[in-house]
Each structure stands twice: as structure tokens, then as C-alpha cells.
Symmetry: C2
Amino acid sequence: MVGKHCILELYGCDQYKLNDEAFVRTSLTAASKIAGAKLLNMITHRFQPQGITGLALLAESHISIHTWPESRYAAIDVFTCGNQTMPEKACNLLAREFGAKSNLLKSFIRDTPHHMEDLTRNP
Amino acid sequence: MVGKHCILELYGCDQYKLNDEAFVRTSLTAASKIAGAKLLNMITHRFQPQGITGLALLAESHISIHTWPESRYAAIDVFTCGNQTMPEKACNLLAREFGAKSNLLKSFIRDTPHHMEDLTRNP
């Protein structure tokens, strides 16, 4: 089990998309799929006067998004476990979907115990 | 708006607590409270043959936990926004609750746009 974690900041996004709860849900679903992950559950919340949070529970860990439409900004995490997932693809899709003018992506490997590399489990 | 993100690895935890979905939910609730955050929603999932994922949606961002009881390991994120929250307190509580023999904590400030510092919003 290798845990790859991507920390993604999106700048200059489309304000309307950042404040559209249905669009956020659709984007999280698409991001899960393109990452090669299995989406098991999702919750979203719309803040007042604006802003959305979305949390996607994956068989392979999670994707989170927090949006600030007034700043055209979104803070995203894509954390996936296993050698078959591609979290960077999810990051690229989300940057494109929200129309980000620029982004900052930091990726790292989680410090999992060494003997976990061969572990598997089912949803 | 300042976004503080804690990446926490817990090692040598209590296997039974790591596989107890109700205990995970109670711990996430307590962690939200001690961090000074408002818990708005939570989802958990129990894997087969073992392992739990829990995602807590906060007014101030999120807490996530993924457990591997067979490795006595948990991967945790505590991401909180605003100057009033204390994500490190949530990390300390979770390490204690799961009986971690050791842990690895990395904290960093998210790269939010500078003009966001004074933004506030309501659940």
C-alpha cells in the first residue's frame, strides 16, 4: 500500500462553478473516475453567503474540495492508496473543470509502515 | 483566512479501536470540538476484512481518517481555516484516543490568496 497525497491550490477559477454545489459533486465524481478510484460516498455543504465544501469517500482514501468563489480560489486534496491510482489526473481534471488560471500542486508519499505495501482490501 | 493543514501518521495504535466505526465517529466529533471547529456532517465506511475511513465536514474545512488495523496504522488530515482553530489539538487528541505508540506530524500553511485573510462566512 503506497499512499500518494496531492495538495492542490487553484487560483483564478470560474466564480459561478465554484459556487455551484451540483457542479462540485459532478466534478468530484469525474475526478474519482479519472484517478482510477472507486467513489463510495460523498457529502457537500453550501456556505452563506457563498462557498462549497465537498468530501468524496473513496475505496482508496478521499478527495476534498473547499471553495471561496469571492476569491476565485479552491483548496483541494487528493489522497489515494494503491499502485493503480493516478491522483495527479484528478488534479488536472479539477483545475480544468473549474477554469483555474493558475495552480500550485504539491505531491508526496505518505509515511505508511513498510509492511503495508502488499495489503489489499475491499469496499 | 489562514488555512492550517496537519498531516498526521499514527503508528502502533490499538487495533480494536482502529476497526471500531462508532469509536472513529466519536473520536472525530471530539477532535472537531477540541480544535475549536464546528462539525457540520460526517460519513464513515467500514472496509472488508477490516479498516475504517471517516470524513468530517467542518465549517472550517475537514478532518479525515483512514485506518489499517492490521498494521496498527492511521493516516489523518486536519485542515482548518481561520485564526480561532487549533488543528494540532485535534491531532494530539486523536493520537491519544487511538493509543498510538508513535506518530509523525507535519504542519503547513495552505497557499491561500493574500486578500482572503479577512474573509468570514457562515455555515
